[in-house]
């Protein structure tokens, strides 16, 4: 069977599994939407009042019936109504998605722009001081948690030197591109930092592997310049693991960078999901997780397709 069709057919199965997991897991967390809304005042409700709220929040049915109803809705493209927003879940998610997408793209751009040259540079100077320096930085980048990077950036760039605003009301990209970029650059650097470190390490080791391959030696013996050898012959083959890594990482980023969005007060998908969990907005949590899972699947599929484009020897699907 066609590879693409095969992969696409597994999507619904994976999504079904995810939906089951998230549906029941969120309901295992103590405290429901009524308590999330009313706090201790929930104790003041009479039985009839409680029943009326339970019905409003869709908590009045047995959990299996709730799941069944939700699943039926899914087939009609209806993810339900968010109880905090009073709007369709999909609408709420779509409103937050552009920010997350922009942030993911920006940080990937930073990661690739920094990581690949750094990795190639280190590989061509293997074990020399410059290589060691790059490796130390890469190690640091990968082992520093994003909240540390974020807070350090805020502290120096926003609070001390006032170069960039830490936070305020978020400005959407199309309303004011420059204002938006000013707000997005710190979070993008924060996310891109460890991402770039990972890209550096992977591209360095992949490059080292490739540079010792026979065809590289052949190219060199045919008199190709160092520059041609590295960038023209070796790099395209060294890129495959970089694509894998970037794809997986990008897929994660599309799920919303919970911590970074929280630190920089960005209304992205991560913060939406976190708020939805803390408000026990079940339909929104379910919808958001499903949406994130779907993105992850799509990105992974694209990564697989990219292999074939990068290396014609790779045949997808075996035969």
């Amino acid at each position: 069977m066609n590879y693409l069709a095969q992969r696409l057919l597994t999507f619904p199965l994976v999504l079904l599994g995810v939906s089951l997991l998230v549906f029941f897991a969120i309901r295992l967390v103590p405290g429901d939407a009524i308590i999330a809304m009313l706090g201790t005042e929930a104790g003041l409700l009479t039985e009839a009042q409680r029943a009326s709220l339970a019905q409003y929040f869709g908590l009045d049915q047995p959990i299996v019936v709730q799941y069944g109803r939700w699943l039926m809705g899914l087939f009609e493209g209806n993810l339900g109504i968010s109880v905090t927003y009073g709007k369709p879940v999909l609408e709420v998610i779509i409103a937050r998605f552009p920010l997350t997408l922009e942030l993911s793209l920006l940080s990937m751009l930073i990661a690739l722009a920094v990581g690949i040259p750094a990795g190639v540079f280190a590989a061509t100077r293997a074990d020399r001081p410059s290589d060691l320096t790059v490796r130390v930085f890469a190690m640091l980048g990968q082992s520093t948690p994003s909240f540390v990077v974020g807070l350090v950036l805020i502290y120096f760039l926003s609070a001390t030197f006032r170069i960039l605003p830490a936070m305020g009301t978020f400005t959407p990209l199309f309303e004011d591109p420059l204002g938006n970029l000013g707000q997005m650059i710190l979070p993008a650097i924060t996310l891109g930092f460890s991402f770039a470190a990972a890209v550096t390490r992977i591209s360095r080791s992949a490059m080292l592997d490739v540079l010792s391959d026979d065809y590289v030696r052949t190219a060199r013996s045919k008199g190709a310049s160092q520059r041609d050898v590295v960038w023209g012959h070796a790099l395209p083959n060294a890129l495959i693991p970089v694509v894998t890594l970037s794809g997986v990482e990008f897929g994660y980023l599309l799920g919303g960078a919970v911590i970074v969005e929280q630190i920089f007060a960005l209304p992205g998908l991560g913060r939406l999901t976190l708020d939805a969990i803390s408000q026990r907005d079940y339909p929104l949590v379910q919808g958001a997780v499903l949406f994130i899972a779907f993105n992850f699947l799509v990105v992974n599929l694209l990564v697989d397709l990219a292999y074939a484009a990068l290396d014609p020897r790779i045949r997808l699907g075996g035969k």
Partner: protein, 591 residues
């Protein structure tokens, strides 16, 4: 560097060689642009909008490529610095022209016509139905949009809102309101007695699940003899009902919105502002309601940003992104007085910090054990250590009008010897070990408080095992009364009856939480409820308070402090504990 930060850092015209290094040409450029600056500042002040980079190209000091908002005081300061630095340079007549420009710049910013107040908080509203919401931020947001019949002033006196006057009948069984003929919803429709009747009927309908329903059960029926008169017929005299009617939870909503079920999705009220946009946990956008009976608001709009934490709000205020903010955490709020250009407003709140014991569980079922614990606690030390000195030692009643002097209450001075003696009498000489629950971050100092209590109670052999839990889990546990002890911060009411009726009377909705009733407390609360003469109510409630402290189901520790903070550019804001944001209706920004 943003203009404001640049100016705050001392305006580097004279300090760093920003200007001095420039050629004469660029100085002249500055003069050229000075003219444009005047216009821009005027425009930005008039519209309350930002000046964008495009507009300020070549404008010295604003070359960072970002939008800057220009508070007039800073603009004036900038003008002054222009003047100063140019005078130093002494370039002759051209300079004088520049000085004149700069002076104009200063003059141009004086009349402030319009502005938007930029506010921030760490916790957004959780919904828009004023009858259902109980979260602090929801009530604060909705008090800008909706109005109740009456309001409370800063001293908790009942003052007019939609109702201009009110009167209890001699037998206390009818309460008549005269409505303000100017009161209008933001749609322009008048607020009539039909809206009042519909709103209260909605509140009382169990299907609404209204939070404040329990406070209005004595309402038998509502008559509307004319559009400006609403008559409440009560089943029994009910003095506290008037105070209960002052809450956001008793807001008057349009009868038409009840009929079409749009309450909770559209917020149509008669308050000073209308809600244009609610993007939960991101931002809330309000604009002035031109139909507000209270007159013109001080600002044209309010934008509320939701920031991740209260310390992030301070950062945001430091970088002049936020004009006004609410604070809950004393540890953060007390940092503000040290910040230049910011003011902290504080006022005692009605909420109280308390160590709740569960008298249904041994050994706390023994009065002497509870009293021993009450005697062993040093309340002031808890305040000084866990609450950075914020708040006062309090008995059960936190409202000034009814509260007794705490030193007159049972064992309010720590007495470890007496506590030990009581433990001995109770047969608990050896002490015992119990669990105490606390919510993480709610209040922010809950865990610290529990630790101080832990060390104090260790002196009489009571070992506290602190269990901190997520707020929702805590609330769940708390509502079930499933704890030995709980560190809690409970909300207060301006009237003692609704404040404690719920916990300590046999019909109280939260009696499962307190697990404590007492016939004497029951009867004192009932007496206080039906007595309408404030002078007679006070001794009744003081007796109630003394009895409650002596029975010690809980150990009341301290009253809370409510905080707001603003940049100094915000004027005419007077903090009112029962209308923290409503008080913004007359505030102005940038004068």
């Amino acid at each position: 560097m943003p203009l404001v930060g640049w100016i705050k850092s001392g305006g580097t015209f004279s300090g760093r060689p920003l200007l001095l290094k420039r050629s004469l040409q660029s100085v002249e450029d500055n003069f050229f642009f000075a003219d444009r600056q005047v216009t821009l500042v005027r425009e930005s002040v008039a519209s309350g909008k930002t000046v964008s980079r495009r507009d300020t190209k070549g404008w010295s000091g604003v070359s960072d490529g970002r939008d800057v908002r220009l508070p007039p005081e800073n603009a004036a300061k900038q003008a002054a610095e222009h003047r100063e630095s140019f005078m130093h340079l002494n370039f002759g007549r051209t300079i004088l022209a520049g000085v004149a420009m700069a002076a104009m710049l200063g003059a141009a910013v004086v009349p402030v016509e319009a502005a938007t107040l930029r506010m921030a908080w760490a916790q957004d509203a959780t919904g828009l139905d004023p009858h259902k919401q109980t979260a602090f931020s929801s009530l604060r947001l909705l008090e800008l949009v909706y109005e109740p019949l009456v309001r409370l002033d800063a001293k908790y006196n009942v003052v007019p809102a939609i109702a201009t006057s009110w009167e209890f009948s001699a037998d206390g069984l009818t309460l008549t309101f005269k409505l303000d003929p100017n009161a209008k919803f933001s749609t322009g429709e008048s607020v009539t007695s039909a809206d009042v009747k519909a709103s209260y009927e909605r509140l009382l309908d169990e299907a609404t699940a209204a939070a404040a329903r329990a406070n209005f059960l004595s309402i038998k029926s509502i008559d509307t003899p004319d559009p400006q008169t609403a008559v409440f017929n009560l089943s029994q005299p009910d003095a506290p009902i008037l105070v209960a009617m002052s809450g956001t939870n008793a807001s008057i909503v349009p009868a038409s919105a009840i009929a079409d079920g749009s309450i909770g999705t559209k917020a149509i009220g008669s308050g000073p502002f209308k809600l244009d946009e609610w993007d939960p946990n991101v931002k809330d956008v309000l604009s002035a309601n031109p139909n507000w009976a209270g007159g013109k608001t001080g600002v044209d709009g309010i934008t509320i940003s939701v920031l991740p934490s209260e310390s992030a709000i301070i950062d945001s205020m430091r970088s002049n992104q936020t004009d006004f903010a609410l604070f809950n955490d004393p540890l953060v709020a007390t940092l503000i007085p040290g910040e230049p250009g910011m003011t902290l407003n504080r006022i005692p709140g009605l909420a109280y910090n308390v160590l709740q014991m569960n008298p249904a569980r041994p050994p706390m079922d023994n009065l002497k054990v509870r009293q021993a614990i009450s005697c062993a606690v040093n309340r002031q030390e808890v305040i000084d250590t866990a609450l950075v000195g914020e708040g006062k030692v309090t008995g059960p009643l936190t409202m000034e009008a009814y509260a007794s002097d705490p030193s007159t209450l049972f064992c309010y001075k720590q007495d470890v010897e007496k506590a030990k003696a009581l433990m001995k009498e109770a047969g608990q000489e050896a002490g015992f070990s119990v669990d105490v629950i606390a919510a993480t971050g709610e209040p922010p100092y809950a865990a610290n408080e529990a630790q101080v209590l832990q060390s104090q109670l260790a002196a009489i052999g009571v070992k506290l095992n602190i269990k901190t839990m997520d707020l929702k889990v805590y609330v769940d546990t708390w509502l079930k009364g499933d704890f030995d002890m709980a560190v809690a911060q409970n909300g207060g009411r301006p009237d003692p009856y609704p404040m404690y009726n719920r916990y300590f009377t046999k019909d109280g909705n939260l009696v499962n939480v307190s697990n404590f009733t007492d016939p004497e407390l029951d009867s004192l609360l009932q007496q206080g409820r039906v007595e309408t003469d404030p002078a007679k109510r006070k001794p009744i409630f003081q007796q109630f308070e003394a009895r409650l402290a002596e029975q010690a189901p809980w150990v009341w520790i301290s009253s809370t402090v409510t905080y707001t903070a603003n940049l100094d550019s915000v004027k005419n804001y007077e903090i009112n504990p029962s209308g923290l944001l409503f008080s913004l209706s007359k505030a102005t920004v940038g004068q």
